[in-house]
Symmetry: D2
Subunit: 224 residues, 4 copies
C-alpha cells in the first residue's frame, strides 16, 4: 500500500517535472561495453535516470547511451559523427580507456599512450567544435585489488594521468572515476579481492558498481 502510494507520488512528480521542462539538457554518454550495458535494466544510465526522477528533476535531463562493447578511443573517433554530433547534445560524457589498456594484455591490440592522447584530443576538438560541452573520465578498474597488484594497474594509472592532462589542455571537466573507485575499494573490499565488489569479472560492473558509477557521475552532472 505504502509502496503504491510512493510510486504514485514519483509518477506525479515525473509528470509535473516533465511538463515543466521545456528544454531538457541532452547528455550523451560515449563509451564502451560498460556504457552499452549502462542502458540495461540495472545499468548506470538507467539508474541515474531513476535517481534524477526521484529527485523530481526528471524533465531537466535527457540521458542517451552511446556505448559499444570493445571500443577504444579510436573507435569513438570513427563513429563520433553519427553517434554523438548527429544527436546535438549539450553535454558529452566520454568514458573510455579500459580497452585501450586491457587489449594490450588480452589481445595485443591496445593503444599506444601517444596515440591515445592524439585521438582523444582530436575527438574532443571535433565535439567541442560542433557546439557540445565535453566531460571526460579516468578509467575505472581492471581488477579490484587496491594495492596496485592488478596486472594492468601500471598502465591504468599512467593513462589516467594522460587523461587529466587532456582535460586541462582542452578545458574539459574531469570525473576521476579511477580515484573514486579505488577509494571505494579501500573502504569496502576488505579481503582485497580481484572481483565481486563493484564488478562481476574485474571489469564489467555489477548492480552496486553501476549504482556507485551513477552517483559518482551525478556529482558532476548535477551542476549543469
Amino acid at each position: 500500500m505504502k509502496t503504491k502510494l510512493t510510486s504514485l507520488v514519483i509518477l506525479l512528480t515525473l509528470c509535473i517535472s516533465s511538463f515543466k521542462a521545456e528544454n531538457p539538457i541532452r547528455i550523451v554518454f560515449f563509451g564502451d561495453s560498460i556504457t552499452q550495458a549502462g542502458v540495461g535494466p540495472t545499468g548506470y544510465i538507467t539508474q541515474m535516470t531513476k535517481m534524477i526522477a526521484e529527485k523530481g528533476l526528471g524533465g531537466k535531463y535527457e540521458l542517451i547511451g552511446a556505448g559499444i562493447g570493445g571500443n577504444k578511443i579510436y573507435d569513438l573517433y570513427l563513429r563520433h559523427e553519427d553517434d554523438v554530433i548527429a544527436k546535438k547534445p549539450q553535454i558529452v560524457i566520454i568514458y573510455i580507456g579500459i580497452n585501450d589498456v586491457w587489449h594490450k594484455t588480452s589481445s595485443r591490440t591496445g593503444t599506444d599512450a601517444d596515440k591515445f592522447e592524439r585521438f582523444y584530443n582530436a575527438l574532443i576538438k571535433k565535439i567541442q567544435n560542433s557546439g557540445s560541452q565535453v566531460v571526460i573520465c579516468t578509467p575505472t578498474v581492471i581488477g579490484e585489488k587496491h594495492d596496485n597488484s592488478n596486472e594492468n594497474d601500471g598502465d591504468l594509472n599512467a593513462y589516467s594521468a594522460i587523461i587529466k592532462k587532456i582535460a586541462e589542455t582542452n578545458a574539459c571537466k574531469l570525473i576521476d572515476l579511477r580515484k573514486a573507485f579505488m577509494d571505494y575499494e579501500v573502504k569496502n573490499n576488505v579481503e582485497n579481492k580481484a572481483s565481486g565488489i563493484l564488478t562481476t569479472d574485474r571489469v564489467h560492473l555489477n548492480e552496486a558498481g553501476n549504482k556507485f558509477l551513477a552517483e559518482t557521475m551525478w556529482e558532476t552532472i548535477k551542476n549543469f
Copy 2:
C-alpha cells in the same frame, strides 16, 4: 662525355614532356614509414619519379608522398582530410597494414582484424566520396624468409586476404605487393635469409627493395 649527352637527352625529354603535360595526374602515396622513406634519396617514390622521367613521361604524373612512420589504418583515417583530401589527388595509393600486424608482437598495440577492415572501408569511402580513385596494396614483408616461418607470416597472409576482400567490396584496384615480394624472394633469396635481400631490417626497404616496389607499383600506375 657519353653520360653528359645522355643527361642532356633526358633533360630535353623531361622539358618536352612537361611542356606537353597540361594536367598531370596527381597521385598521393598514403602509408607508413616505408612511404615516409619513399621520398628520400633512394626511396620508391623518388625512384619511380626518375623512372617515369626516363620514360619521357615526367609531365604526365605528379607523385606525392604522404607517409608517416608507425602509422596503422586508423592513423590514416585520422589524418586523411589534411594529408589526402586537401591535396585533391586523382589517385590515392594506400599501402598500409604492416604496423597493424607487427605492433601486435612488438608493442601489443596492433589492430584487430575486424577493426582493420572497418577502418579501411571507412577510409576508402571518405576518399572515394571526395572524388579520388583509390588503389590499395597488400602488405609486403616482416621477415624475408619465403617458407612462411617469419613470426608474423600467419597474420600477414590473413590481413592480405582481408585487403583483397576490401578491394572487391569497394571496387578498388589491388596491387598484391605481398605476392610480388614473396615471388621475388623465392627466386632471389637462395639462403632463405630474414633480411638483406629487399630490406635492411626485415621490414624497411633497401635500395633494391625500393626499386622493386617502384617497378611493381608502376605496372598498375602506368595504366592511368
Copy 3:
C-alpha cells in the same frame, strides 16, 4: 555373428601374443594437454593401444601417457625425473611445442626460440643418459587453415625447423607431425576452415585427429 567370430579371433590373437611377450617395449608419451587427453576414451594413446591389439601385437608394447595440460618444454624438464625416468621406459616420445608458441599470443608467456632449444637439448640428454631412446615430434597445428594464414603459423614453422635440428644434434628419430597434419588438411579441408577437421578448437584433437595422430606415430613406433 560374423562380428562375434572376428572378436573371438582378435581375442585369441591377443591372448597368444600376450603370452609370447615376455618383455613388452615400454613407451612413455611425454607432452601437453593433447597427450593428457590421449589416454581418454578416444585419445590417441587409447586408439593406438586398440590398433596394436587388433594387429595381434598387444603384448609387445606398453603405452604410458605422461601429458599435462599447458605444459611447455621447461615444464617437461621440471618433471622428467618423476614422470619419465622413474618409469624406466625403453622409448620416450616427446611431443611438445604448441604451448611454447601459442602462449606467446594467448598469455604472453611463450618460450623464446633459443631457450626452447636449450631446454629441449638438456631434456633429451637427461633422458638418453638414463638409458631410454628418445623420439621427438614437430608440433601439429594452432588453426587448421592450410595456406599459412593461421596467426601462429610463422612460429610453428620456425619451431618445427628448430626441432628438426635438435633431432639431428641428438641423433633422435623425428616424427614430423606438422607436415603430416598439413598434408592431411590440404587433402581434406576443402573449405580451408580453422577448426573442425582434426581439431575441435584449432588445437585440441577430435576423434579423427586422435586417430590420424595414432596412425602417424605408429609408422615410426612399429619399427621398434
Copy 4:
C-alpha cells in the same frame, strides 16, 4: 699520502682478517643480468666485497656471482646444479623475477604466476636439500616512478606477494628489495622520473643503485 696510509691500513686489516678466517662463509648470488653486472667494476657484489673489507670482515665472507642476463626462474632451475650446488655454498641469495614479469611485455615470453611459484619452490628444495641455506628477494623495479604508474608495476607487486609466500612456505629469509627501492624512490626521486635515480634504463642499476642494493642486502647478510 693520507690515501696511501689508509690503503695500507685496509690492506693490513684484510690480511689479518683473512689469516684469521679459516672457513669463510661462501655466498652465491644467483640471478639475472643485474647479478651478472654485479661482479663488474661498480657492481653490487664488487661494492659489497669492498664494503666488507673496509669493515675488516674481508676474510669472513666469500662472495660469488652467478648471474646470467635474461634469466628467469626456470633458467635458474636449469643451471642450478652446475652454477650453485657444485660450488657448495653455505648461503644462496636468489634474486630473480624481473624478466619473468618484464618479458611478458617485451617479448611475450614471461612466466605465468603459477609456474613461477612452482619452479621457485622446486629450485629452493633442490638447493636446501644440497645443504645450503636459501635467502630470496623480491624484484626491484621496471621503471622508477613511485606512484605505481610504471607499466609492469601491477605484476611486480603481485609477484612480490608470491615471493613472500614462497619464503614462508620454505622457511627462507626474505630481502624485500622492492619495498626498499620504492621507499628510496619516494624520498629521492622528487620528479617521479622513470629512470636515472637508481637505474640507467628503468631496470639495470647505475652505481648508486648497485651501492644501495649492496647496502640493503648487507643488512641481512651481516647476520650470518
